[in-house]
């Protein structure tokens, strides 16, 4: 009688010990090192989800690589959507801080990416809710770097960090007429700081 109760208690104790170690370790791993996710939508075609809704790609998301917020142009990254914090979006990094981007469909034609921000775009232009809609995103919203496609098996591959050829960056300020350059921070917020008045169309008076 005592013996049969004994093994149940020992089993229960061992289970609890294992459980309360394994769960924090697993949660921390998935949160800080790597996890997998299914990609939905067509905004990254043809790199991701070329088959549309018939077959969604599953990608490996590497949190460890972005723990210091280091990304390169051309990386495919997942980030918290600036318009909806409950959603993650997956896009390609087109420009880093200080770069000047020629936008496609944004309200300003040229945008200089502010400090601590990046410019992201989906590969499927026109079908993508990206920086052309919401402007540069803060690096703090970066979630992970998508490094491989894991599923379906015939699409198993490493995702390359290449910039699409038509998205080469403007090299210098002289390439775009300097007086049309606008800084992508809503000009009103900069009013007090710059001293001079900034009109709402982005031009600065009294320069």
């Amino acid at each position: 009688m005592v013996q049969s109760q004994g093994w149940v208690r020992r089993y229960f104790k061992a289970f609890c010990k294992g459980f309360f170690v394994a769960v924090p370790v697993a949660v921390t791993f998935l949160d800080r090192v790597a996890c997998v996710a299914r990609v939905e939508g067509a905004s990254m075609q043809p790199s991701l989800n070329p088959g549309g809704s018939q077959s969604s790609d599953v990608v490996l998301l590497n949190h460890w690589k972005v723990r210091n917020f280091e990304v390169q142009r051309g990386d495919i990254v997942s980030l918290v959507s600036p318009k909806n914090p409950e959603q993650k979006i997956i896009k390609r990094v087109i420009a880093l801080e200080g770069d000047i981007v020629k936008t496609m469909g944004h309200k300003n034609r040229y945008v200089k990416v502010p400090r601590g921000h990046i410019w992201v775009e989906g590969d499927h232009h026109g079908h993508s809710f990206d920086s052309n809609s919401f402007g540069p995103v803060s690096l703090g919203l970066l979630h992970a770097h998508a490094t491989h496609i894991l599923w379906p098996p015939k699409r198993w591959q490493k995702l390359e960090s290449v910039l699409p050829p038509e998205r080469l960056l403007v090299q210098s300020e002289e390439d775009c007429l300097v007086e049309r350059l606008t800084e992508e921070v809503a000009p009103k917020w900069k009013m007090r700081q710059s001293g001079g008045k900034v009109r709402t169309d982005g031009y600065r008076e009294g320069r």
Binding site: V23, V27, S81, P82, P85, S138, L139, G140, W189
Partner: protein, 158 residues
């Protein structure tokens, strides 16, 4: 080892943070939240509110700085998405307003004269918020929950 792993779970819920001029990632520094939080105070932040989207107007939050993701800012939430914010001086004759965009919050420090906040860099995406500060534990003569904003007028929708 067990204490360490147990604390991994707690870290998702609580963070000990403070205002201190060293470069550590959980510290904020500066005079922007005086008199509510002074430099070298130690406060307790909880991470549950942000996961369940329970941050409200008047909460003091720790967020990643929009221009430097490795440093933190410690401000009060003045407006949530859709709120109307007064952007001109309250004493001015011509008042200008703007609306906080979807998915963003408007942050201001309590020490309005000496605070770089949303009045400078614009609304902050909700995803940058790391936690909500709810308890001050040091100095002991100021122990307890944090006071309401001394700038009550900033909360009016007017």
């Amino acid at each position: 080892m067990r204490v360490f792993l147990g604390s991994l779970g707690l870290e998702q819920i609580f963070t000990l943070t403070g205002k201190n001029p060293d470069g550590n990632s959980l510290w904020c520094s500066g005079p922007s939240m005086e008199p509510t939080i002074q430099n070298s105070d130690i406060v307790f932040a909880e991470n549950l509110s942000r996961h369940f989207y329970g941050i409200q107007r008047g909460d003091i939050v720790v967020a990643k700085s929009p221009s430097d993701p490795k440093s933190n800012i410690c401000k009060r939430v003045i407006g949530l998405e859709g709120d109307k914010i007064l952007t001109s001086s309250p004493a001015g004759f011509f008042k200008s307003h703007s609306y906080v965009p979807k998915g963003h919050v408007w942050l201001e420090g309590d020490n309005l004269q000496n605070s770089t906040d949303s009045r400078y860099y614009g609304p902050v995406p909700y995803g940058l918020i790391r936690g909500r500060i709810f308890l001050k534990i040091w100095p002991l003569n100021d122990f307890g929950f944090l006071r309401d904003s001394p700038n009550g007028h900033r909360f009016s929708d007017e």
